[in-house]
Symmetry: C2
Subunit: 187 residues, 2 copies
């Protein structure tokens, strides 16, 4: 749990009691790559924090696999459209590199909010930050060519390029794999 509490310090410093309360509702799991951490159709009741490895959220559009997002070490991953609405998710979480993951039970977490306002605040700040990232991502998609988006990704997240198969990156950028390959070929 140490990496998670280090991560949380970026937002707020928790009391020992709050940390213990979070530890009690969490467990650490080891997962092999290519494994489905959460399947499509399942209502999400878990927030994950990645100690080691890579995960992605994906879904199918007309039979095509589309990557919504990637998460790396020291970051959170959750299917928020399900977590915050109670609706079953149309998305799945898949592990791309052997991973060690902290699984936080969200039902119990949300209950902790009453007893520990500091925990509620922590997750409020995490969501605010993720929301800002998403707003910025829309700006990135809205009026940039495929090539611009690819180059932006190289700059902002070179790790993705090194560690994730291109076929997953293409749909994340909103283009086909063939287009991505063509863009990469131009030099």
């Amino acid at each position: 749990m140490i990496p998670f509490f280090q991560f949380s310090k970026r937002y707020i410093s928790l009391s020992k009691e709050a940390e213990n309360a979070i530890t009690e509702i969490s467990k650490i799991i080891l997962i092999k790559k290519h494994t489905e951490l959460q399947p499509i159709g399942h209502t999400c009741k878990t927030i994950y924090f990645i100690n080691k490895g890579i995960a992605r959220i994906y879904y199918f559009k007309d039979g095509t696999d589309i990557t919504e997002s990637f998460s790396f070490e020291n970051n959170i991953i959750a299917r928020v459209e399900s977590l915050f609405t109670g609706q079953p998710s149309r998305k799945a979480i898949q592990i791309l590199e052997d991973a060690e993951i902290v699984a936080i039970n969200s039902t119990l977490l949300f209950k902790l909010y009453d007893k520990f306002p500091e925990i509620e605040r922590l997750f409020r700040l995490i969501v605010e930050s993720a929301y800002v990232d998403t707003i910025n991502r829309i700006e990135g998609i809205q009026f940039h060519s495929a090539e611009e988006r690819y180059k932006a990704l190289i700059n902002e997240a070179p790790d993705v390029l090194k560690r994730v198969p291109l076929k997953y990156i293409a749909s994340y950028l909103g283009i086909t794999q063939v287009s991505l390959s063509r863009i990469r070929g131009i030099r």
Copy 2:
């Protein structure tokens, strides 16, 4: 302030004291259409709630005006990438129809969070919901054609089409005005 508290009831029911505290840090303003409510380059310290009228957030990309979002009656509008980071915003808020707006001072609001956990919770829930909307919007952009996006907008927000000039809608959909006009022409 009544419409705002009616809106907030969707998320949580506030105590009278909490409502009064919010009222004290808010003011109601009337603005004519085409007015700039907030200029580009200004660090955002206000959360707006629209009682009446329409507003949009926009920015410039290579000299072209791009609409990030619209907000109508009974909804919140804020430049969150500035509000939550303290950075100056590259975006502006513009009024598209004569408006009556509640302006909530965010600096004072964030201070109220300590005294009123229920207010912190309200805004946590509002942000969670806005975040989910934004995630869904990315899905809408990521792999749909211009025509699909236009038709989705007709279904989900027919009001936008009726009350907002097409030139603003085009960039919101991520296409040029000429493309939008062409799509509309097909019948």
